[in-house]
């Protein structure tokens, strides 16, 4: 087939494509609802949830939600060639750096013994398993939405998708989790979200190819 003929065929195809943002939004909404339902069925809220949400422990829910927002924005920019993504990447990096600083501050106050006693609880395993499980449907939705885009850096885009999925899963899980010490929450949640990010980075080059 000649190139001119191909061009004629392409030009005749006038069916518009759905914007990536809308496709991603719909898929995310559906997947988050699915994760939320599974959570309500098998985990459920902690008994003192309203008191917790009124205290500093609300950060356990709020920070992952912000992480999710920033990661989605970053991933969307990466899926649209020509859109500047540096600023969104820096915002995301700043949030992660802030969390690391928070951990260092708490660690400096209580030391290795404090960290060991905080992490020495069955909640650690529950957290490390629950967040990736709750994140899985959201990660699938992120990939489905982003694959209609044009990611030039699939590994980075996949990692951002993993961060977004991990963020929303952590926010959901925090409703159940009754451990509020910074030395537990920061390392445990970070490790769980980090594992989802790693999965996203590994899957990205395969699933976001075009």
């Amino acid at each position: 087939m000649k190139t001119e003929e191909l061009i004629s065929a392409l030009a005749a195809d006038t069916i518009p494509q759905q914007p990536v943002t809308r496709q991603l939004g719909q898929a995310m909404l559906l997947a988050s609802a699915a994760s939320g339902t599974v959570f309500a069925l098998f985990w459920g809220a902690r008994p003192d949830i309203w008191a917790a949400l009124g205290s500093l422990a609300v950060l356990k829910t709020l920070v992952p939600l912000i992480l999710m927002g920033l990661s989605v924005a970053f991933a969307l920019a990466l899926a649209h060639p020509g859109v500047r993504h540096a600023r969104r990447g820096i915002a995301l990096g700043a949030l992660i750096a802030l969390a690391a600083l928070g951990f260092l501050a708490a660690f400096g106050r209580e030391g290795v013994a404090g960290l060991a006693s905080a992490l020495n609880s069955p909640s650690l395993i529950t957290c490390l398993v629950s967040i990736p499980v709750l994140a899985a449907p959201v990660l699938a939705a992120m990939f489905w939405g982003l694959s209609s885009g044009a990611a030039l850096r699939p590994r980075l885009t996949g990692a951002a998708a993993g961060l977004a999925a991990g963020g929303i899963a952590a926010a959901i899980y925090s409703i159940y989790c009754d451990k509020d010490m910074a030395l537990f929450v920061l390392p445990a949640y970070s490790a769980a979200i980090g594992s989802v990010m790693l999965a996203g980075a590994l899957l990205g080059p395969r699933l976001l190819k075009w």
Binding site: M1, K2, T3, E4, E5, L6, I7, S8, A9, L10, A11, A12, D13, T14, I15, P16, Q17, Q18, P19, V20, A79, H80, P81, G82, V83, S148, G149, A150, L152, K209, W210
Partner: protein, 170 residues
């Protein structure tokens, strides 16, 4: 492009015709080793990618950086995949020898193979627009389909073509 995204076929056709010579030059400069036909295949890959990803361009952004990014990605991708394939396949070399008798330099080879794998009706529709320059209404009348059905069939066929070509160069 703005008009194209709203369904203006003529404007979209003009745009694609205008950018094709530039893209062809870029592809040929990078891929002299592929021969003119191989280059034309890569160029057709780039055009299919531009078409398939046109919704990732924001209307208020400049078009050139977007086009350039899509083209560069596809060219790099295609040369990586094809470089490997050419090293392995003797058939390609033989075909190249036969074709050296004076092929049309804008004729791609991959497209024929892909169209052959498509279901006949879909291939027929793609050819109808390309080879015969038919309009939607003419194709619809000839194949006894509604215009909407022809549009959907063409849209799906082009998507399938992109998928098949990807599998082919892997």
């Amino acid at each position: 492009m703005r008009a194209a995204n709203r369904g203006d076929t003529a404007a979209y056709h003009r745009l694609l015709m205008a950018i094709t010579p530039v893209l062809r030059k870029v592809v040929r400069a990078r891929g002299a080793a592929l021969g003119p036909e191989g280059c034309e295949d890569v160029l057709q890959d780039v055009l299919l990618a531009i078409h398939g990803k046109r919704h990732t361009w924001h209307e208020d952004a400049p078009l050139r950086p977007w086009l350039y990014a899509i083209a560069r990605h596809k060219v790099v991708d295609a040369f990586r995949a094809r470089g490997r394939r050419i090293e392995m396949s003797i058939d390609d070399f033989a075909e190249g020898l036969v074709a050296a008798e004076g092929p049309d330099p804008t004729e791609g080879r991959d497209m024929e193979k892909v169209l052959g794998k498509l279901d006949p009706r879909a291939a027929e529709i793609v050819r109808a627009f390309g080879l015969n320059g038919e309009t939607t209404a003419e194709t619809a009348a000839r194949l006894d389909m509604s215009e909407g059905a022809v549009r959907v069939a063409l849209h799906r066929a082009l998507k399938t073509i992109v998928r098949l070509r990807e599998r082919m160069i892997e």
